[in-house]
C-alpha cells in the first residue's frame, strides 16, 4: 500500500519552552510580584543575623524608645530592638507558613490519591476529613498544643492537620476525574502498574490546583500562627514572632505605635505576597487562559 510511504507534512510549531522572566512578567505579573516579594522576605529573614541586632537583648534603660539610628523601629516595653524582632519574626512566620503548606500538601496528596482509588478507604477517611473540617482551625490547634505544651514543631503540626482536609478533597476530586480518562486505561493496557499510573498519569494533573491550594494554606497558616501566638498558645513568648509582638505590645500602641505596626504590616505584606502568588499560579496553570493567549 502507498499509505506507509505517504508523506506526512512536518510543520514546525512552537514547542513548550521555559519562558524568560520578562515574558512571564508581561503575561503573569501576579506571579512575578508575589513570588518576588516572597523571595525578598525569605532572603531578608535568612540574612537577618548579618544586619539586624540581637532580638533577645533587653535594655531596661531604653524602653519604648522612638526610632533612632541605632534602633530603626524603636524599642519595645522591655527595651528590645523592634526592627531586629520584626526581621527575626519573619523567620518564624515564613517557616510555619511554608512547612505547614508543604505538610498539608504532602498529607493531602497521599490521602487524596488513595481515597480517589480505594472506595473503602475513601468512605472512612473522607468522613473523618469532613469531621475535621467542621472544627474551627484555631480551636483544634489550641487543643493539640494543650496536649504537649508550646513549641514550634507542635505548632506546625497543629496548623497543618486542620488544613489537610481541604487539600485532600481537592486532590481526591482531581483523581476521580482523571482516573476514568481513556489515557489512564490505555496506560493500564500497556502494562503499567498502579503506582506508575498514579505517578505519571494522575498526579501531574492535580499539580495546578494543588499549587494554588498550597498558597492559600500557606497564607492561612501564617495568620493562624500569628493568631495563636497572639492568644499565647503559639510560639513561646521569648521567641520573636509577629503574633507574639503584637500581643505583648498592644498595651503600648499609643506610646510606641511601631511596636505593633511593624509586625502587623509585615504580616499583611507576607500574606498578600503569598495570595498574589497563588492567584498568579492559578492563571498560569489554567489551560483555558493559555489557549486564549495564543
Amino acid at each position: 500500500m502507498t499509505l506507509l510511504s505517504a508523506p506526512v507534512e512536518y510543520v514546525p510549531t512552537g514547542r513548550l519552552r521555559i519562558s524568560g522572566l520578562p515574558r512571564l512578567a508581561r503575561r503573569h505579573p501576579l506571579v512575578v510580584i508575589g513570588g518576588g516579594l516572597l523571595a525578598l522576605l525569605i532572603v531578608l529573614a535568612l540574612a537577618a543575623p548579618l544586619y539586624a541586632g540581637d532580638p533577645l537583648n533587653m535594655d531596661p534603660f531604653k524602653r519604648l524608645q522612638p526610632p533612632s539610628a541605632e534602633m530603626w523601629f524603636g524599642s519595645d516595653n522591655l527595651g528590645r530592638d523592634v526592627f531586629a524582632r520584626t526581621i527575626f519574626g519573619a523567620r518564624i512566620s515564613l517557616m510555619v507558613g511554608l512547612l505547614s503548606a508543604a505538610g498539608a500538601a504532602l498529607g493531602g496528596v497521599l490521602i487524596g490519591v488513595i481515597a480517589g482509588y480505594n472506595r473503602g478507604f475513601d468512605n472512612i477517611v473522607m468522613r473523618v476529613m469532613d469531621g475535621l473540617m467542621s472544627i474551627p482551625t484555631i480551636l483544634l490547634a489550641i487543643a493539640l498544643i494543650s496536649l504537649t505544651g508550646p513549641g514550634i514543631a507542635i505548632l506546625i503540626v497543629a496548623i497543618t492537620i486542620p488544613q489537610m482536609p481541604s487539600v485532600s478533597r481537592l486532590v481526591r476530586s482531581a483523581v476521580l476525574s482523571v482516573r476514568e480518562r481513556p489515557y489512564v486505561e490505555a496506560a493500564l493496557c500497556g502494562g503499567a502498574r498502579l503506582p506508575k499510573v498514579l505517578w505519571r498519569h494522575i498526579l501531574p494533573s492535580t499539580i495546578p490546583s494543588l499549587m494554588v491550594q498550597s498558597a492559600i494554606v500557606c497564607a492561612d497558616a501564617i495568620l493562624t500562627e500569628a493568631g495563636l501566638s497572639f492568644l499565647g498558645v503559639g510560639v513561646p513568648p521569648e521567641i520573636p514572632s509577629w503574633g507574639n509582638m503584637i500581643s505583648s505590645s498592644r498595651l503600648y500602641l499609643a506610646i510606641a505605635p511601631l511596636t505593633v505596626f511593624a509586625p502587623g504590616i509585615c504580616l499583611a505584606v507576607t500574606v498578600l505576597a503569598v495570595n498574589l502568588l497563588g492567584d498568579g499560579l492559578r492563571d498560569l496553570f489554567d489551560p483555558r487562559a493559555k489557549r486564549r493567549r495564543r
Binding site: T13, R15, E185
Partner: protein
C-alpha cells in the same frame, strides 16, 4: 500452535445499579450476556451492533479493564480471568488495545515519543538512545515522521493522534489488537488511511484484530468474520462474505438494509427495524429482538434462542430462521411459518 489465539466462552458482565444497601434485589444492567467466540492468529473478527449493545464492554472485558461477572477469556488456552497480578502483567504484552477517541486516549502532558515507548518501559529499562530509536521505529511503522516524537498530542491532527494510539499498541509486538471503534471519531478520508494502515500491519506482522465498530462499510472492508451483537448477545456470527451476501438473522438483515448504499435505484427489500433498542436493565423475555422483529412468533417471546450452527459454518440465534434441530417436530412447522411470514411481508411492502 494449536487452537485459536483467543477464545471467549460464555462471557457475561452485569453492572449492578446502586450499591443495594438494605435492598433485597439490586437491578442490574445486563451489558454482556453469554458471549462466545474465538479469534485465530492473523485474523480479523469484527463485532458490530447498535450503540449500547455491549460491544465496548466486550473489549474492556477482553483487556480485563473490568472484571467479568461470568465466563472465560482464554489466550492460547490460558484463562486470563484467573491470573494473579504478576501473571496478568506479563500477559498484557500479548494483547493491546486501540481506543476510540484519539483525543482523550493520549496523555496531554506527554510527548508522542514518551507515549508510544511507555508500554515497553513498563517491562524493560531503556537507555535514552534506545528509547529514541524505538520511538522512531514505531512512528515509521505507522507512517509518521520520526521528528514527530517531540510533539505533544495537542500539536497533532486527529489522524496523527490515532496513528500514535496504534503505535502505542504495536510497541509490545502483540499477537492481538483490540480496536474499539478505532476509526469512528475520524473523517472518512482519514478513516480509510487508518484502516489501510491496520490492514498493512496485519499482513506484515500477522497481528489478529478484534475490530469493534458500528459502521458496516468499515467492517466489510477489513473483516474476515463478523459477530453481530444485539442487547448483549451475539445473534449471528459468520464470515464477512456470507454475512453481507446472505444475512440470516432478521436483525442482521435489518442492519445491512439500513446501511446507506450509494445507489439511488436500489430498492429496499427489507423494511428497516422500527423502535428503539430495549433497555438492558429490563430486557424483553425470550429473544431480545422480538419486539422489533417482523418474523417474531410466540416461541420468540418465551424462549431465548440458542446459537445454532448452519450448513455454511455460521451460527445464528433465531427460532424462525435457524431453528434448533434437537427439538423434534418443531423445525418444519417453524420453517413453514417463517417462509409464509416472509412472503406475506414482502407482498405487503
Amino acid at each position: 500452535m494449536n487452537g485459536p489465539l483467543l477464545k471467549v466462552e460464555n462471557l457475561t458482565k452485569h453492572y449492578p445499579l446502586g450499591t443495594g444497601f438494605l435492598k433485597k434485589t439490586i437491578p442490574v444492567i445486563r451489558a454482556v450476556e453469554d458471549v462466545s467466540f474465538s479469534v485465530e492468529a492473523g485474523e480479523t473478527l469484527c463485532i458490530v451492533g447498535e450503540s449500547g449493545c455491549g460491544k465496548s464492554t466486550v473489549a474492556r472485558l477482553l483487556m480485563r479493564l473490568v472484571e467479568p461477572t461470568g465466563g472465560r477469556v482464554l489466550i492460547d488456552g490460558t484463562d486470563i480471568a484467573g491470573l494473579k497480578k504478576d501473571a496478568l502483567h506479563a500477559w498484557r504484552r500479548r494483547m493491546q488495545m486501540v481506543f476510540q477517541d484519539p483525543y482523550s486516549s493520549l496523555n496531554p502532558r506527554l510527548t508522542a515519543g514518551q507515549i508510544i515507548t511507555e508500554p515497553v518501559e513498563n517491562f524493560e529499562r531503556l537507555s535514552r538512545r534506545q528509547r529514541q530509536a524505538l520511538a522512531a521505529d514505531l512512528l515509521r511503522k505507522v507512517g509518521m515522521s520520526p521528528e514527530m516524537m517531540h510533539r505533544l498530542p495537542s500539536e497533532l491532527s486527529g489522524g496523527q493522534r490515532q496513528r500514535l494510539g496504534i503505535a502505542r499498541a504495536l510497541a509490545l509486538n502483540p499477537s492481538l489488537i483490540i480496536a474499539d471503534e478505532a476509526v469512528s471519531a475520524l473523517d472518512v478520508s482519514v478513516q480509510a488511511q487508518i484502516l489501510n494502515l491496520l490492514l498493512d500491519l496485519q499482513q506484515q506482522m500477522g497481528i489478529a484484530f478484534v475490530f469493534i465498530s458500528h459502521d458496516l462499510s468499515v467492517v466489510e472492508h477489513i473483516g474476515h468474520r463478523v459477530a453481530v451483537m444485539y442487547l448483549g448477545r451475539i445473534v449471528e456470527l459468520a464470515t464477512c462474505e456470507a454475512l453481507f451476501a446472505r444475512p440470516v438473522h432478521p436483525y442482521t438483515e435489518a442492519l445491512i438494509a439500513a446501511a446507506p448504499v450509494p445507489d439511488p435505484t436500489r430498492v429496499r427489500l427489507v423494511a428497516p427495524v422500527e423502535g428503539e433498542v430495549p433497555s438492558p436493565i429490563n430486557p424483553p423475555r425470550g429473544c431480545a429482538f422480538h419486539p422489533r422483529c417482523p418474523l417474531a412468533v410466540d416461541r420468540c417471546r418465551i424462549e431465548v434462542p440458542p446459537l445454532v450452527p448452519m450448513a455454511d459454518g455460521r451460527v445464528v440465534a433465531c427460532h424462525v430462521r435457524a431453528p434448533a434441530t434437537d427439538i423434534p417436530s418443531q423445525p418444519a412447522e417453524v420453517g413453514d411459518h417463517s417462509l409464509a411470514h416472509v412472503l406475506s411481508l414482502m407482498i405487503r411492502s
